[in-house]
Symmetry: C2
Subunit: 228 residues, 2 copies
DNA sequence: CATTGTCAAGAGCAGTGCTCTCGATTTGAA
DNA sequence: TTCAAATCGAGAGCACTGCTCTTGACAATG
């Protein structure tokens, strides 16, 4: 195993530095990332950036992928830190971790969950990392169901929805009753809505005690999905 | 009462036409609205637009205000079309109306509820029209409570959250028990999350039966807020 | 009739993403 | 070791953006 040639290493370093500078710009200037500003910060000329990223969208895609992974790591780590049997503790920890990450990286969260850029289409390889937070939530449900500490709801689902939910279960590789999976999706939707409302300024001026509000709302959803 | 001078009338017409053209551009090109493109479509020169809107943000604000009002009209009309006592019917109608409006005007919805534009700060006069959809939802709860057909939940709220909810009730001019108002906010958050997930492409490839999914999830929230 | 205010047009500034070309440098094989 | 190929940064340039300022034409008002 030979070491990678020097050229490849400095190239990898350049790519990392560009991403780091771009992330910094993202945090201050918001989603309208300027390639020229990034190049300026690096003491380069704008056209040099194109040696490393074929377009601005590709740079954004790289940042999006890293952000998905960072969020996924945070949520999964928070979940893993609790005893497997402490379903409610895991639920709250996962939700809190997602919110904490979003509050710490608002611009990146907006990049992931904000309005889609008109011309931009998310590449195929973002769907797997994007599924990690909801997968963590439904994983808690799966564990609770397997341990017999959680009884599936008896919601009556119309047939097409039942089939859709079954298919979604196969796609996520998690075997849950359709009605329970639907409630899990409700929890995930609610988590996204809570964070987005707070981060996008829709709670400005009202509800100053954000932590308590968030915990209460996630507790409501924990009840809804049937956590003991 | 004299008729407004001709000059003012043609000016108002111009403003309306600019907004109409801008809305059309918004629908096709997304949020990055180009003043020059709007001017081109109107056979004008870009600088002429500034006679009617002092900046691009002001034009966007005008569009945002109109969009809030259009959404508020749709939701309130759907709610008003049902018998006052049919709480569940009103709930579903209001939710469906919001979703239908969003699907019909995706770009305008993204303008309202997508990631905030970095430099842009929503003016004060947007908060009232922005509050109309959630007000419609909690109005259903208020009516149910007044009619004795809805019993407030017995959630234990921590004191600061209870106070926040009481204050929010005053702000919305709706007298609800804090715990019930919190659940109403959960319903509103869920509605926003459902629509955003669908509109922002997060359901692409899964859950093809969107109507059934949406109805089921809003029914879950109707249960959560305690609608009979 | 004369003045005042409003209007569209045009030029121009600073910024953007992106393409192309041109030398300089590094690389890997002959 | 030599040499061609690949890679790199720099610069010029294109088409586009929001926005400002000036100029000349027009209409409404006194």
């Amino acid at each position: 195993m030979v070491a990678p040639p020097l050229r490849a290493r400095v190239r990898a370093g350049m790519i990392d530095e560009i991403k780091a500078v771009a992330r910094r710009h993202l945090a201050t200037d918001g989603a309208n990332l300027s390639l020229r500003a990034v190049a300026r910060d690096m003491g380069m000329v704008s056209s040099a950036i194109y040696r490393y990223f074929p377009s601005r969208d590709d740079l954004l895609t790289a940042l999006i992928l890293e952000a998905y992974d960072a969020l996924g790591d945070a949520v999964e780590a928070a979940d893993a830190a609790f005893d497997r049997g402490d379903l409610r503790g895991r639920w709250h920890a996962a939700c809190r971790a997602a919110r904490a990450w979003a509050l710490a990286h608002p611009a990146e969260y907006a990049l992931l969950y904000g309005s889609p850029v008109p011309g931009y289409a998310a590449p195929e390889d973002t769907v797997a990392p994007a599924a990690r937070p909801p997968l963590t939530l439904v994983g808690i449900l799966r564990d609770g169901l397997a341990a017999g500490r959680l009884s599936p709801p008896e919601d009556a689902l119309p047939e097409p929805l039942r089939a859709d939910m079954a298919e979604l279960g196969v796609l996520l590789s998690v075997d849950l009753p359709p009605a329970l999976l639907a409630r899990g999706m409700a929890g995930w939707t609610q988590l996204f809505g809570l964070i987005s409302f707070e981060l996008f300024g829709r709670l400005n001026g009202v509800l100053p005690h954000r932590d308590e509000y968030f915990d209460h709302q996630t507790a409501l959803m924990a009840d809804l999905v049937g956590l003991p």
